[in-house]
């Protein structure tokens, strides 16, 4: 099921990309190089009809270029229908003319690592790009494992594209550093610009947003998701143009700045196509009520604070439930940033229609939660805090038979906090929600039995991320490591593409991963394993592995070397606080010229000069980047 990215922030790639390699991998590049560099080989192919792989019989062919032009026109018309980038990658490898035509017809480009290639390479190969998805920092940067100012700057991309793609319509960035100047350049350079999606980005403020709002007259989507937006004290809502807008989606729940509510009301009133609106916590319940009355066509709503500041007079209290009742189309609900639980029943009228519900900022107890969830029969995506307890999860299991994605976050994200959810909740979910595809579960205690049960009950699982918050914690009933549980997951969940492990794990768990994890693309490991063998099992056994992130695990040089045959086929490898030496990393860098080997932050410790604190390595078509800060050593 394809999920709309702007509704929830996604850690994983689109479903589309789950089992495919990214478009600009080295294989296609290798074919690209001879094409563009040598013109003589180019013309040889063109003028020798027998060599071109077309279906016209050789009797009708002459040595003129005419048949090739016909072929290319036909090809162009056909390739236009190819959307999937893996299909396009495959098509581009057929022969040079297919490569050429594919490059000229690809309009959406996905770049999983902004340092895998330079912006100019992008613009040289693809001439008619209208949509770019670009990802920057590695995921572990979200957890303070990387100093700020590491890189992933959007600036060189926007300035190169400003000249090459004046027709650009869509930019979707994740973990990139975007400045107000970048946003200003974007707004000025692309007159037809329609969609701006910034997920987990930083470096800009409300003034940059104001410029985009003001200058992008065709703007349909402005989604700021979990980004850090500085409050420049600019009334950016008022910067939207005065006339009717094309806005379909406006998400600003992460903007930590008050907004001009009157201007927002006016904006919503003149945006007849608006379907998705996600408010920040500076919008009160009363204001939400007014907005809802003016925008009953909404399908996705982020409710803002869901509270109010002053004591309300009871006779003046608006009928919140009536406002929700009028929103017959709302299927996705989030927000509740400062929830006053007594007002929660107002959402009852929409519960039966909800396919997506995000309570992950709302500290609600099981008693407040159960009456709500018992109405949500159609729910497919559910995010919540562990404050709903195992009891709440049991209620979810009883009602939400269509559940595909579950995320349970810790209200108190510390290693030794009280754990309101446990194996009981996981077991219940596994029994009630058989269609589950994706789970992220934070807990303090877990058992192998519950994890095994989930592996058996939920065969559709593609994403399994379990975080037992106490490091090295074993099965709390048997005292054994969690090897068997995770082993069962890789063995029984045949569609598994993403795995995050935790708890006490020996090398055995990794043996299972290597043996059974044949489709795993993304693996996250922390405080796990006993020896190099663990990492070797994974590197030698998981053929589809693309993204490997490891922290605080006892893996050393021998293990790293054992994967050298893999690294060109992976997007990146992250290893921090493991047992790597600089010498080994240098060897790898020397042996693999298209691999960029970054060692972060360990060169000032004289005693430990050879020790590598953080290794981040990734393939690149254009060599090491020029914007690396001082604390990054590129070997």
């Amino acid at each position: 099921m394809t999920r709309d990215r702007s509704e929830m922030s996604e850690d994983d790639d689109d479903q589309q990309s789950q089992s495919q390699s990214p478009p600009l991998d080295l294989r296609s590049a290798a074919i690209a190089e001879p094409c563009s560099s040598s013109s003589s080989s180019f013309s040889v192919v063109d003028s020798t009809p027998n060599k071109s792989r077309n279906c016209i019989s050789s009797g009708t062919l002459t040595s003129q270029p005419f048949p090739d032009h016909v072929l290319e026109n036909v090809l162009e018309n056909v390739l236009q229908f190819l959307d999937s980038r893996c299909d396009r990658n495959a098509a581009s490898l057929v022969c040079k003319s297919w490569w050429r035509v594919e490059a000229s017809t690809r309009s959406e480009v996905f770049i999983g690592n902004c340092y895998a290639l330079s912006p100019s390479r992008l613009t040289q190969r693809f001439k008619r790009v209208s949509s770019l998805v670009l990802k920057g920092k590695p995921r572990f940067a979200d957890f303070n494992l990387m100093p700020p100012d590491w890189g992933a700057n959007f600036a060189p991309w926007v300035s190169t594209m400003a000249k090459a793609y004046p027709w650009l319509e869509k930019v979707d960035l994740k973990r990139m550093f975007v400045t107000d100047d970048d946003l200003a350049l974007l707004a000025e350079s692309f007159p037809g610009f329609k969609e701006l999606i910034l997920v987990c980005c930083e470096g800009f403020g409300t003034s940059g947003i104001a410029i985009v709002a003001n200058k992008c007259r065709k703007l349909k989507v402005l989604d700021l998701i979990e980004s850090e937006v500085t409050d420049d004290e600019v009334d950016w809502i008022s910067c939207f143009p005065e006339d009717v807008t094309c806005l379909e989606s406006l998400a600003f729940d992460c903007v930590e700045a008050p907004i001009n509510f009157k201007a927002l009301e006016g904006l919503v009133a003149r945006s007849p196509c608006l379907k998705k609106l996600r408010l920040n916590r500076f919008v009160s319940l009363v204001e939400l009520h007014r907005l809802l009355l003016g925008a009953p066509q909404l399908t996705s709503l982020g409710t803002g604070s869901f509270s109010h500041d002053e004591e309300p007079q009871s006779e003046q209290e608006p009928d919140y439930a009536a406002a929700f009742r009028a929103c017959k189309s709302v299927v996705c609900l989030s927000g509740f940033r400062e929830l006053m639980p007594e007002y929660l029943p107002a959402i009852y009228p929409v519960c039966a229609n909800l396919t997506s519900l995000n309570f992950s900022y709302a500290n609600i107890s099981p008693d407040m939660f159960k009456p709500i969830i018992h109405n949500c029969h159609k729910l497919q995506v559910f995010w919540a805090l562990d404050s709903i307890c195992d009891e709440g999860l049991q209620a979810v299991a009883e009602t939400c038979k269509e559940l595909r994605e579950l995320r349970i976050f810790p209200f108190d994200p510390r290693e030794d906090s009280e754990g309101p959810v446990s194996e009981v909740g996981l077991q219940a979910i596994s029994e009630g929600c058989r269609k589950l595809e994706s789970i992220l579960y934070f807990c303090q205690r877990m058992t192998n039995a519950a994890v095994i049960a989930m592996s058996e009950n939920c065969p559709e699982l593609t994403v399994f991320r379990l975080c037992i918050m106490g490091r090295h914690r074993p099965d709390h009933v048997t005292g054994k490591p969690m090897d068997e549980g995770f082993g069962a997951i890789v063995k029984n969940c045949k569609k598994l593409t993403r795995l995050a492990v935790s708890g006490l794990l020996t090398d055995q768990a990794f043996r299972y991963m290597g043996e059974y994890g044949k489709l795993v693309r993304t693996l996250s490991v922390a405080f796990a394993g006993d020896s190099d063998m663990a990492l070797r099992h994974v590197l030698e056994g998981c053929p589809r592995l693309q993204k490997l992130e490891i922290r605080d695990s006892p893996f050393g040089d021998a293990a790293l070397r054992s994967g050298m045959h893999r690294y060109y086929n992976m997007r990146f490898v992250w290893m921090s606080a493991c047992s790597l030496t600089r010498g080994c990393c240098k060897d790898i860098a020397r042996a693999m010229p298209n691999l960029v080997v970054e060692v972060i932050g360990s060169d000032d410790d004289d005693d430990n000069r050879d020790y590598v604190e953080t290794l981040y390595m990734y393939r690149s078509l254009d060599g090491p980047r020029k914007d690396a800060p001082k604390f990054v050593a590129i070997l």
Binding site: F140, D142, F143, N144, L145, P147, P148, D149, C200, E202, G203, G205, E226, S227, E228, V229, T230, D231, E233, D235, S238, P258, N260, F261, A263, F282, D309, E338, S360, Y361, N363, F409, P410, F411, P413, R414, E415, D416, F442, C467, M469, R471, H472, L504, A526, F527, R551, D552, P554, S576, A577, S579, I600, G601, S602, D605, Y611, E613, T614, F631
Partner: protein, 228 residues
């Protein structure tokens, strides 16, 4: 069995539970970018937002950890559990917010008041207990509403209400002056009472043009005389 003792750990010598590295922010940092990060929590907006939120997030966490009613917890490992800073900050703000709600209903130790400025599109909120003097408040408001200046106050930051002509000069200028609603529901000029008394009695702030505030001056002087 405490498996942590057998854990392979490459932390700095003498570093207890924390698995630290020079490159990471957090406690006991040997070198670090966190030293260059601005530690002021609220008052400045700057583009080091990411760093600020890191530090302020961890500072808030430390405050929570040091709650005397809970048993002492061990030091936290950097980046573990793997919850995004963004989420941690939002939850921390909520937790502080909750304590505010419960306390302010008892008329207790938090004094959040709304601040509005004529012509500005939105309200802000300040916790008066964060400041020690009118000057501090003035600086903070200046940053919030950048076109606003508090005008000329006396050495103690109080308007000398006994000096009528000075007050009228101030009010006749086009500068903005702050006024506040006190416990009695009257709108007064800020600066008429000693700072601690002001914090107790101020319910709401409004920054208005000096010329509009003229009507408040006589009442302010009246009350001032009554108190002395």
């Amino acid at each position: 069995m405490n498996l942590k003792e057998t854990e392979l750990c490459l932390g700095l010598p003498g570093g207890a539970e924390t698995v630290e590295s020079p490159a990471k922010s957090g406690v006991g940092n040997k070198r670090g970018f966190s030293e260059t990060v601005d530690l002021k929590l609220n008052l400045q907006s700057n583009k080091q937002g990411h760093g600020d939120l890191n530090v302020s997030g961890s500072i808030k966490e430390k405050t929570l950890l040091q709650d005397p009613t809970k048993p002492p917890t061990k030091a936290q490992v950097v980046g573990w559990p793997p919850v995004r800073n963004y989420r941690k900050t939002v939850m921390a703000t909520q937790k502080n917010g909750e304590t505010e709600e419960t306390m302010s209903s008892g008329g207790g130790t938090i004094a959040f008041v709304k601040v509005s400025m004529d012509g500005a599109p939105y309200l802000r909120k300040v916790d008066l207990r964060m400041y020690n003097s009118y000057k501090d408040l003035s600086d903070a408001l200046a940053k919030m509403f950048s076109s606003f200046t508090m005008g000329s106050y006396g050495a103690q930051g109080m308007i000398d209400f006994m000096n009528e002509s000075k007050v009228m000069d101030l009010l006749n200028s086009s500068e903005y002056v702050p006024s506040y609603e006190d416990k009695d529901g009257d709108w007064m000029l800020v600066g008429d009472v000693p700072w601690p008394m002001f914090v107790e009695s101020c319910k709401r702030l409004r920054i208005m043009k000096g010329s509009e505030a003229i009507g408040l001056a006589p009442r302010a002087m009246e009350k001032c005389k009554n108190r002395s």
